[in-house]
Symmetry: C2
Subunit: 456 residues, 2 copies
């Protein structure tokens, strides 16, 4: 007899079934004992006698029994298996459970978050969290199908790589073979995806893990996050925006069953956004409390540079690979602050959920941008020589966008934190869920990579 | 006029088209000039006059022209567009190309590999390499569809995590918030996937990036690799093997168009493999030179431990989470070397392409295994306390397998190295492709994480 998922049971009245799962609840009515058995498909009621008596919540059991129709007044309309129950005949306890540190049948947002993360493997049993992760899987699957059908190719890029200038702090990884040298974890696959355009793939994407050692914020996880990284050759900015809005419209309607406020998504210039809404991340919903409405817009025509006061220099508003508008190139020399770019941000309900741009492909112009940002010729060659060299061998015009998966899901599901849509997130202090990291390493391992503690 | 891919052209005779791509070749016949234009879909011949004269190989161009049928004797049966050519009317050069450091229309295996990796963005233009990456995409897509249809859920696990005892050296990442402490990059998501079983997902998979700081070998990339990480609850070993062999049979036939030697895959005990073939990775092909035949087998009934001479102790043959056969548990105390386990290896044409096992779920037994391996109670608690704790809250029986994506593709495509199926692999010496990493970092950044060079 094959194992049956509980949700299959209604059509199996009279049949013998074998179920495996967790004891969700137990109710004793004298000699009659009821348990709700939970597996990944849902819950079903088991009725039995003494055999069920010793079971405790969250014990793992294998139950063999017969599917029976419930008497009409006992039907539970709240669950898909509510018309049946299983008469438990054999009960095998596969594993016992101690009392849990918190209940897992509630939403869980009232439980201390450090405790939730310490016992994440229990926290993920709650239907809300399991549902969020299943929905995340469905979302990513939908994105992949959508792009695959448009002839995009997903290509994996390295995690052990070189530092990139995305504006945040890199995580670094000491090298054993080259003592005193380091890899960096990518803040995004930006340069690799541009190199893939030089290689001729034309339509690339990747569900990519990115790493930033930035102080956490409510809408920014510490450490790592996941983005849909996407790049296209021979595409104008409007083609990238059209692809993006069609993708997210379908996601909203087919994956999330939510309404879109305006379609096509409004294109708002940075200047208009700042003047009209006082922010470059406007929330266009008529009622900000409407959690089932997704109000997307694109913000475009950003300034190319912003003044970085702390370093007394111009810095790229997006990143240094963003193309200036052609007509503004003459401004670079004397009035870089007035130049506008082909940056585009995807904004949803007041959150930036994605950013991108048309890229620079002229190596001379790329060098010029680095110079405006204060890099010397030597630094440019050392840090970006490979990219400038690549642009000498036949580079197609290209651009892309990178919507954040965690960020988008948090906003679309109206969750209070990114951690509600990530399986094993870190705490705000950079402590991993469940496992005790960061932790100390054997001094021998440090020695192998040519390092020692600064104080030692 | 929308941009047309070259492969669409045969059905467009008489129509005006706009093509974008790379100049693959140019042939001058007096006033008549022919170029082969290459885009991601293939190649088409453009015929024209002076306008094409200035084009050089690998220039990026946009060409507007009319599709014409070729005279019968000019038809090229070798390419899908061989019955047509484009009469080039307008030619726009989008980017120039210098002379390439090596040809990209050959197989490329004769070119110096360091040079190929330095210019990987050009090396990937060769049809063999572009084809390998497209096939890799198709393979991974097929795996995902297959598992999604069987109700598996893909869940992303952390890259910044704690050291795990998979037998290889960890890459470590210094923490800024906790000076002197380190994250480790995962050698596999082993413990996270077991925790996801405790969480109740029952059927998990992930196309997972894994990291090992091991000296490279022909069949092992330095640094990082990708595996299909898969785990199931309430499944016996045979269910895992059956799922795996059905998946790989379909991959062989539907993705790779290759023949399978024996199905179901033979199950060979470790002892039989060693006695009969002198290896636990037997190549079962009747003719070892038959590159279109995939001879899979499972090797099972491995010893639980092997003696680690260098450390004078027992070490897990697979990893310490592998369950011993029930009947061998009494041997653990006095004759651990005689105990057998529920390890299973997937072997293809003489290469191990995947390994897995049924896991231990009894915390007492798990502790015992660690003790046999020479860990003290204190070490066990410090390193694995979280997993032993998780097993106290209702753990389902579970097991899994983890086939290597790069490894499988290399063997199945009969490529001489893993680097032929990875977009941007490292050199054997741990140097990244294209980019100059590992490299030095600002001493300030080292100071931020509480480190300094051992010699300074």
């Amino acid at each position: 007899m094959e194992r049956t998922l509980v949700l299959n049971s209604p059509e199996k009245i009279g049949q013998k079934v074998r179920l495996c799962g967790w004891v969700a609840t137990r109710r004793d009515h004298g000699k009659l004992v009821f348990i709700d058995l939970r597996d990944r498909s849902g819950i079903v009621q088991i009725v039995g006698g003494e055999k069920l008596g010793g079971l405790r919540p969250e014990d793992v059991v294998e139950i063999t029994g017969t599917v029976r129709e419930r008497p009409e007044k006992m039907v539970n309309p709240k669950i898909p298996t509510g018309k049946v129950e299983i008469e438990g005949e054999e009960v095998k306890i596969l594993a016992r459970a101690k009392e849990l540190p918190f209940p897992v049948d509630t939403g869980g947002l009232d439980v201390n978050e450090e405790l939730r993360l310490k016992y994440r493997y229990l926290d993920l049993r709650r239907p809300r969290m399991a549902g969020n992760l299943r929905l995340r899987h469905k979302l990513i699957r939908f994105i992949r199908d959508y792009l695959d059908n448009q002839d995009f190719v997903e290509i994996e890029t390295p995690v052990l790589t070189k530092a990139t200038p995305e504006g945040a702090r890199d995580f670094i990884v000491p090298s054993r073979f080259r003592s005193g040298k380091f890899y960096a974890l990518p803040q995004s696959p930006q340069q690799y995806k541009q190199l893939l355009m030089v290689a001729g793939f034309e339509k690339y994407y990747q569900i990519a893990r990115c790493f930033r050692d930035e102080d956490p914020r409510a809408d920014r996880a510490y450490g790592e996050f996941t983005q849909l990284d996407l790049e296209m050759s021979f595409a104008a900015q409007e083609e990238i925006l059209a692809l993006t809005e069609n993708l997210f419209k379908d996601i909203a309607e087919k994956v999330l069953q939510k309404k879109i406020w305006q379609f096509p998504f409004p294109r708002i210039s940075y200047q208009e956004a700042m003047e009209k809404y006082g922010t470059d991340k406007p929330d266009l919903r008529p009622n900000k409390k409407d959690v089932d409405l997704l109000a997307f817009c694109f913000v475009i025509d950003f300034p190319l540079f912003e003044w970085k006061k702390s370093e007394n220099r111009w810095d790229a508003m997006h990143h240094p690979f963003t193309a200036p508008k052609e007509e503004d190139i003459p401004l670079l020399e004397k009035e870089p602050g007035k130049a506008h770019s082909y940056q585009h941000d995807l904004v949803l309900n007041g959150f930036e959920v994605g950013g991108g741009s048309i890229r620079i492909t002229d190596p001379k112009l790329q060098e010029k941008i680095f110079e405006v940002m204060g890099h010397t010729k030597g630094q440019i060659k050392q840090k970006f020589g490979h990219l400038l060299a690549a642009f000498e061998y036949g580079v197609p015009p290209h651009g892309g966008i990178a919507p954040g998966i965690d960020r988008f899901l948090m906003v679309a599901l109206n969750e209070p934190s990114l951690r509600e849509v990530i399986a094993f997130p870190m705490t705000a202090g950079g402590q991993t869920a469940v496992m005790d990291a960061p932790s100390e390493v054997d001094p021998l391992q440090l020695k192998e990579v040519g390092l020692r503690a600064a104080g030692s």
